[in-house]
Symmetry: C2
Subunit: 348 residues, 2 copies
């Protein structure tokens, strides 16, 4: 469907012709509103395309808007507040949380490409443009903050660089202005796992294996040393390592939920990402994890030193490495509370 | 063939019935002698087996013997001195080198399992026992030193623990008393790449992919940041990262030379490895690389603190990480020269 722009913040909830509720999805909180928009976007590498963007927002209709975005496997359902289906970031987003849905209106989308229907190169700039187009449709002229973690931080940097006049503040957690070359190589090999599976008839196995490699990049040797401190054992005639059950279960669950096309396009989107930090002229908090093997501290230091606006680096330690934004609930809440203090009228 | 034991150090070269030169191999240095032995070994996980062990030695017949062993893809041809085929450790082993073949007699074998004919679980203890059996056949009662790097260091620790009465000194570079759980997971996923290729008809592709993942574990983000500092580019409709040509070439070359069985059995052999450091009662030099992602410094510190004999930790920095023993020629030469000073009659 094609939808008419509207200046009203809560037009989505009020006007049926303006949104389409996602009837096929699990029950959503009373306070949350889902929408589906048909948009035409000029993709950076794939020309003009009609795309479907699925989004959700939660929080008072008149509250300042905050965009929230996570990793490539995150989605629009950041908070399950009041509903039966948990959100992927319930620890930080909800009533009374650091991103307080009693005082802020949180908006999130499913990534372009995440439903597997867009089999073309997707860039972080395309995601930022999609968010800007969504804001246009929803009649939101300006957002108070963009809180992005991992790929979401990359998209946040793109949004700040391309649509900075609409943004009050950026919080970029564990995502930099570029993909680190070593991490790019790591992802390239994950895509080869999928390609091997695809070419040989084992699509799901290839995808599950790629996800296992991804998990290894998200976590740290320190965590594995604690959780899986046991020698390999023989399972029949083959050695089996202590972490294999865990990793295989992660891989299987992922492959059951995702298509290989979505994985490949979002994975390569990280590697196509590049932003000139000087083009970001929005006050920014950058959060770095010392142990992150995917986004090294040195890249985030370079980012902070090169940003075109006041910037602050918050450096944390975590045995969860790149996944700290999901696991270190208290430390991340502190960072967010401080960074967003001014967003809801200074009433933090 | 079954060969008769002999007490003479150079019996291999002198007596045709004692050795079989490897006619199929490339030309070898005049000074080097290759041999092939049939041995019966009690394998730790696979019972009593007849195995063929291929070895090579180089250096004066009356010189102190030094065992040299490298990673799972190394072989018996450590030095190409005087011959046309380069050895894998020419930087350290040869006339006038840190492991000086004018003054020491260097002995090395192809790993059990490296020819792909032994499809059973192989342990580092089996490799140590094979070396001891080779020494018996060659009539070598005692060796002055064991210099092992990577998997070779693990086997060196096993040799010291199981056959310490025959050993004067151990140098263990980038190999510990255990496989680190995170590194074990990394190798388990490499084996899954091979398994995926095998199950789906793409054996060579799976093996090449596993090798690419291994390369990533051998090297460091610092090196990749220097060598491959360029954003991904689109190759047709797919992103291609700067390191992909290099990694794919490594993978292809490996898959052309190795069988998947050899890779799987030697890879899991690392994960089955475990030695009680207190059982090592031989003076030991442990060499650790700060940037090694596969064998973390912390494990080598634990090793040194727990060894049952005088031990010294030499800590180096290298952007080559786990591969420093192959790449940091001067620093490794210094360590070896010092550690082996007493071996050739103190004439270092």
């Amino acid at each position: 469907m094609s939808l008419t722009p509207s200046p009203a913040h809560d037009a989505v909830a009020a006007a049926p012709e303006f949104c389409a509720f996602d009837a096929g999805a699990a029950p959503v909180s009373r306070a949350a509103r889902r929408f589906v928009l048909d948009l035409r976007l000029d993709l950076r590498h794939a020309g003009s395309r009609s795309v479907v963007v699925r989004g959700e927002w939660i929080g008072p209709a008149d509250a300042p808007v905050v965009l929230v975005a996570g990793g490539i496997s995150a989605n629009r359902h950041v908070s399950g507040a009041g509903g039966s289906e948990p959100g992927w970031w319930d620890a930080q987003v909800g009533p009374g949380r650091a991103i307080d849905t009693d005082r802020l209106r949180v908006l999130a989308i499913d990534w372009l490409g995440s439903d597997g229907s867009l089999d073309a190169p997707i860039d972080s700039a395309d995601q930022a443009d999609a968010l800007a187009a969504v804001l246009d449709r929803l009649g939101v002229a300006r957002v108070a903050a963009f809180v992005g973690a991992s790929y979401g931080a990359m998209v946040g940097l793109q949004f700040a660089a391309r649509h900075g006049h609409r943004l009050g503040r950026l919080v970029a957690i564990s995502g930099a202005h570029r993909a680190h070359p070593y991490s790019s190589a790591w992802r390239a090999l994950q895509r080869q796992c999928v390609a091997l599976g695809r070419s040989e008839g084992g699509v799901s196995q290839g995808l599950a294996l790629a996800r296992q490699w991804a998990m290894l990049s998200y976590r740290t040797p320190e965590e594995f040393a604690e959780r899986f401190d046991a020698p390999a054992v023989l399972d029949g005639e083959q050695a089996r390592c202590a972490a294999e059950d865990y990793l295989e279960s992660c891989g299987r669950r992922y492959a059951a939920r995702w298509t290989s096309t979505a994985f490949l396009r979002l994975s390569e989107s990280i590697d196509l990402h590049r932003v000139d930090p000087a083009a970001v002229r929005v006050p920014t908090t950058v959060v770095a994890i010392d142990e992150d093997r995917l986004v090294p501290l040195s890249d985030l230091q370079t980012l902070v030193e090169s940003l075109g606006a006041p910037a602050r680096l918050r450096q944390l330690r975590s045995r969860y490495g790149h996944d700290a934004f999901l696991k270190e609930e208290a430390a991340i809440a502190d960072v967010l509370t401080e960074a967003l203090a001014a967003c809801a009228g200074g009433a933090a």
